[in-house]
Subunit: 120 residues, 2 copies
């Protein structure tokens, strides 16, 4: 029972947050049976935050939670802030395996190929 949590920064512009929720819905469709659920969480400004979203996964029976940072650069948010919000939930639920996947910008070749398509 594996859950995927797409984590974005969170924006004061609600349409941007909605783009993230729609992306999570698209991931859920694309992933098929790979994840019992896919949902969105936000580092700042917008609910649900990361701890609340992890808690929700656990209460719904997740044995594994994959936190997927929707960020382009390996900045403080990715390197420090997201892990700092994940670690206490891991300590609280040692029976659940919570991992943090590479951030989006780490997919260098894939991003470069997408950008060249967009530029056409």
């Amino acid at each position: 029972m594996r859950h995927l949590l797409l984590v974005a920064h969170g924006s004061r512009r609600e349409a941007s947050n909605e783009e993230v929720r729609q992306l999570a819905a698209r991931l859920k469709t694309l992933a098929g049976a790979r994840y019992a659920d896919v949902s969105a969480a936000f580092l700042e400004l917008v609910e649900p935050g990361i701890p609340a979203a992890i808690q929700c996964c656990v209460e719904r029976g997740a044995r594994e939670v994959v936190v997927l940072p929707y960020f382009l650069s390996q900045g403080r948010h990715v390197a420090a802030d997201i892990p700092a919000q994940v670690q206490p939930k891991q300590a609280e639920h040692p029976q659940v395996c919570i991992t943090i996947a590479p951030y989006l910008g780490a997919a260098e070749e894939g991003i470069a190929a997408l950008l060249l398509e967009l530029a056409q």
Copy 2:
């Protein structure tokens, strides 16, 4: 003679700006003969800004400049701030065709596929 300008927000964290410059270099390699040059520019905080980078393309002989926003969401920066910096340069150089390509987050299916790979 077409130039590609990868436009990122610009960060106080120099390593993030360097990631963008390296991505521009990767695009140049991948694009082969499609662009005479590929370079990085920044909306805020970091040089070169968008107008200076466009000016540089023009002075180096560009007849066409494709501005490619390296942004995940269709926020104010993409919808208003980048066009506002591009338009005066277009007016200044009517003989050059300056276009703004879709922002990275617009490549919805491609982004979703990349995210699922990263989550594995």
